[in-house]
Amino acid sequence: MKGISETSRRRFLRTLLASAAFPSVNQLLASAGEVRGPLSPWARLQFPCRGGDNNNWNVWPNGDLKLIDELRATSPTNVDRRWNVANISRLETMTPFPFLFMHSEAAPELSGTECANLREYLLRGGFLFAEDCVNGKFHSDGSKDAFFRRMAEVEFSRILPEAKLERLPDDHPVFHCFHHFQNGLPHMQGIPHGLHGLILNGRVVALLSPSDIHCGWTNGDEWFGHEKRVQAMQMGANIYVYAMTAPTGG
């Protein structure tokens, strides 16, 4: 009984705090000219990896939330602080989100339906950021770019055969739309192939990164040093802002 009362009281107080504090924060931000506009969603793509691994897509989810916090704090993007999941085998779970983050330690291995779903999503105007999680190659083939190479060499050509995957030059808008990266993609670990864009009708519909900036979001200070962590966060912000402001490629 006591436990229930305490829980209810805590929930009640939390409710009051939420209802009282939320508008105040919003008003404060609004008055500062920041984080205004509609909430923008973030979603992780759920997909299968080589060897029937269906549980590798969700590595280090806290890295996503840390980037969202950074985006809300340092950029004008009003990203919803929720870790949504879109399942590649069900198109209707993907289309509520204009931006999908695809990340795993193992190399993806998509079925025909899954490729078709991702193709349809991109053609409708959705944006994909696919990145190699280099850290966990112990249970993969041991290479440090298995995800990158699989996507670049196999999956993208199955998803959008008419599109072209190209390494983006250092003066590409994705490196300059919010923060400026004179030397292109900051590199955390893995093989520095550079940031590649999947280009359809002259427009970038997906980005493929080999450099594991997501690990920079997750625990960059400890793993790569503070400067690298800042670069990873800033590049994450650039990718999200670029996706918001570049035209659809369908």
Binding site: R11, F12, R14, T15, A18, S19, F22, A30, G33, R36, G37, P38, L39, S40, S75, P76, T77, N78, D80, R81, R82, T95, P96, P98, F99, E120, Y121, L123, R124, G125, G126, F127, P173, H176, C177, F178, R203, V241, Y242, A243, M244, T245, A246, P247, T248, G249, G250
Partner: protein, 741 residues
């Protein structure tokens, strides 16, 4: 000039002369009877001589008392010296309509002169001078009424308002005009009435009427339409009609587009001359050419508008906050090369947009001139504090000058910030504020969601988020057909769907609601209104990116929606080939002139009732500002003629008109005198319609009131009082002597 009058003074001053005299005489008689009766008692004690003395003295006292009561005054009345401005100007209408005799031989001029002659003597007496003018096509001085009525020839037109304007410029005390009130110069009667009222000089009309059988005239003067219009847009085609009728009536008019009747109406025509405009909104449809043919009575005029697909539409897009809609809207517009997009993100966000296909701008201009190169400005997710007053004023000026603004915001907290701004005054809706019931309901719902989320321990709902359901747009009940409204008329996947919307308190009067929410209580989603020469529209939803993601990739419904929405909202530009028949009434063997507005000389061709074609000679009549070409020919037969004009670009315009035996000018249509119009105009200036002498009393009396009075008592009442007391004392002394006291 002065003269002397007498009047009673004191308390009798306000009595009439007869009343006061009667009272005084009655008092005198009564006093004398009393005096005689009084001294009759002393008859035995007085000699007859003494009695006569006493009666005489007492009667003198009574009369002096009455003289004190009467207190007669000598009044000198002096008229002020006549000033040159205290003149009366008499205008005599010498146009042909005034001299046309009826079956009894009576003319309107004679009738008006007869009326004026009853009034003229008092006018001459009370005004320092009377100036006569005769007018028709212009105004001429006359030495007298006879000179004004008889000298010179009659004129072919009546420039009534011009003549009155000229007379008022001399600043007379009053103006009298002998006329039938029919101005044939196309001068604006209401504009003149406002000028005359402001000047404060009364105008008196002496109407000239007779019993002529009235005629009528009708001219479909011209068709105004844009030269080129974009596909799937709306534009306005206007017919300008001139007509003269004897009595109020309805005039049927129709618009035929490519051989199909698309609009008809009954135009209200009042007795007399009328210049009417009939604007009709026309949907352009698909590329091709549209022949717009107006038919009014037996008249017909047409113009051709080209419907084009690839005319470049310049769009300026300004965004106040980062959001996903821009990505999809930009993709939709850039999928059609006829749209050129210039995008600006609020500079405070410090985000550099990837270059769109239009010219680059760093911020919203503060000068309307810089906005004029765009057909439409889209303001998306803008907050009031992001736009400076100068930027808002520039937008207002841009729309007044013919531009278009589409305001898009689904955020009530953002829209309420515009309350009282210049931008809000331009928009077609009034947004709900925080205290409005509509918004209060939303806030209550969000609070309840927060409570539910906290109780369930679901952190993801703690901010009040909810599952997003797309809702369809719908046509408002009773919506009229238009290109814009057609976007919401079907039930297929082409009906747009939205996720969020801002609350609208009301749609402004005169604004048009184009779309409402299709589920639940209809909420206004899209409204538009004209503002100056342009328009302003408000879309209260998000930028529909969720709808785009929900549709199959082979669907282009979203792209079509945005393109057609902007096209339907964008104003048209340019002017089509316009042919105007200059000669109002065409007659056999009399030249008929036409003008056209083409840049290069167009080809004019006349087609006779029998089908014979005749090419017309064209001459340049351009001014520095406007190109113009004039062509003419003399019809050789009566009946229905056509004139075709074709410009260098192949655009055509056509005029169909009737040719009669004789030219019938508006002057000779025998329209009845516009008595009602004259009365209204006269009364608005403080004058009147003069139909007999009594109607002109007001100015005469007004002059009389200017006479000043100098009252002077005939004698000093104190002297009379002393005389009266002296006489009374004498009487008392005499009575004492004769032992009556």
């Amino acid at each position: 000039m002065s003269h002397i009058e007498w009047q009673f003074g004191g308390w009798l001053r306000d009595w009439s002369a007869l009343g006061a005299t009667t009272l005084l005489v009655a008092l005198a008689v009564a006093g004398l009877i009393y005096v005689v009766w009084f001294y009759r008692h002393a008859a035995g004690a007085l000699t007859p001589r003494a009695r006569r003395w006493l009666v005489g003295l007492r009667a003198a006292v009574v009369l002096l008392l009455l003289l004190c009561l009467a207190n007669p005054e000598r009044v000198e009345k002096t008229a002020p010296p006549k000033k040159p401005s205290h003149t009366l100007t008499v205008l005599v209408d010498r146009s042909a309509s005034m001299s046309a005799p009826d079956h009894r031989g009576g003319t309107r001029l004679a009738a008006a002169v007869r009326r004026w002659k009853q009034v003229e003597p008092s006018a001459k007496q009370n005004f320092s001078s009377v100036n006569y003018r005769r007018f028709a096509n212009d105004v001429q001085s006359a030495s007298s009424l006879d000179d004004a009525v008889n000298a010179g020839a009659t004129g072919s037109e009546t420039h009534l308002f011009a003549a009155l304007r000229q007379a008022l410029a001399e600043n007379p005390a009053a103006v009298v005009c002998l006329t039938d009130g029919l101005d044939t110069s196309k001068d604006d009667a209401q504009k003149f009435a406002a000028e005359a009222t402001a000047q404060g000089v009364p105008i008196y009309f002496v109407p000239g009427e007779n019993h002529l059988l009235p005629g009528s005239s009708l001219e479909l003067h011209e068709v105004q339409a844009p030269a080129r219009v974009l596909r799937q847009t709306e534009f306005t085609a206007t017919a300008v009609i001139e007509t003269a009728v004897a009595k109020d009536q309805q005039l049927p008019a129709e618009l035929w587009v490519n051989g199909k009747k698309t609009a008809s109406t009954q135009l209200a025509v009042r007795a007399g001359h009328n210049t009417l405009s009939w604007p009709v909104t026309v949907g352009s449809g698909e590329p091709g050419s549209l022949t717009l043919e107006f038919r009014v009575g037996d008249q017909l005029a047409s113009a051709v508008a080209d419907v084009v697909e690839s005319k470049t539409m310049e769009v300026l897009y300004y965004q106040g906050a980062l959001q996903w809609g821009y990505r999809f809207l930009r993709g939709a517009l850039e999928s059609d090369s006829s749209f050129r997009l210039t995008a600006i993100l609020n500079p405070a966000l410090q985000v550099q947009l990837t270059a769109a296909n239009g010219p680059s701008l760093t911020d919203l201009p503060e000068d309307a001139a810089e906005l004029r190169r765009f057909q439409i400005v889209v303001l998306a997710h803008v907050f009031a504090d992001q736009l400076t007053p100068k930027q808002q004023q520039a937008l207002v000026d841009y729309v007044r000058g013919g531009g278009g603004v589409l305001f898009i915001s689904p955020d009530s907290q953002a829209t309420e910030g515009f309350s009282g701004t210049a931008l809000e005054q331009m928009l077609p809706v009034v947004f709900a504020t925080r205290n409005d019931p509509a918004n209060a309901a939303v806030q209550q719902m969000q609070f309840q969601l927060s409570v539910n989320a906290a109780q369930s321990g679901d952190e993801t709902l703690a901010s009040g988020s909810q599952a997003i359901t797309l809702r369809p747009f719908a046509l408002p009940a009773g919506a009229q057909y238009s290109s814009a409204s057609r976007l919401f008329a079907t039930n297929s996947e082409t009906v747009p769907q939205f996720a969020a919307s801002a609350k609208v308190r009301s749609v402004k009067s005169g604004a048009e609601t184009l779309a409402v929410s299709g589920v639940g209580t209809p909420e206004v989603l899209l409204a538009r209104q004209r503002f100056g020469n342009g328009f302003a529209a408000a879309l209260t939803t998000d930028l529909l990116w969720r709808w785009k993601l929900s549709l199959p990739s082979d669907s282009h419904a979203v792209e079509k929606f945005w393109q057609q929405l902007l096209l339907s909202l964008a104003p048209t530009s340019g002017e089509g080939l316009r042919v105007v028949k200059i000669t109002p009434s065409a007659a056999v063997n009399a030249p008929v002139l036409f003008s056209a507005n083409a840049e290069a000389a167009p080809v004019f061709e006349a087609i006779s009732p029998g089908g014979a074609r005749q090419r017309m000679t064209v001459s340049d009549a351009s001014t520095a500002e406007h190109p113009a070409w004039v062509a003419g020919f003399a019809p050789t037969a009566t009946g229905r003629w056509e004139v075709h004009a074709t410009d260098a670009a192949g655009r055509q315009a056509r005029v169909v008109f009737l040719v009669g035996e004789k030219s019938v000018s508006a002057e000779l249509l025998n329209l009845p005198a516009d008595v009602a119009g004259m009365k209204q105009l006269a009364e608005s200036t403080g004058g009147a319609l003069v139909q007999d002498a009594a109607d002109f009393q007001a100015p005469v009396e007004a002059v009389a009131k200017l006479v000043s009075k100098t009252p002077e008592p005939l004698w000093n009442s104190g002297v009379l009082l002393v005389a009266m007391l002296g006489l009374y004392s004498t009487e008392l002394i005499a009575r004492r002597r004769w032992k009556l006291l």
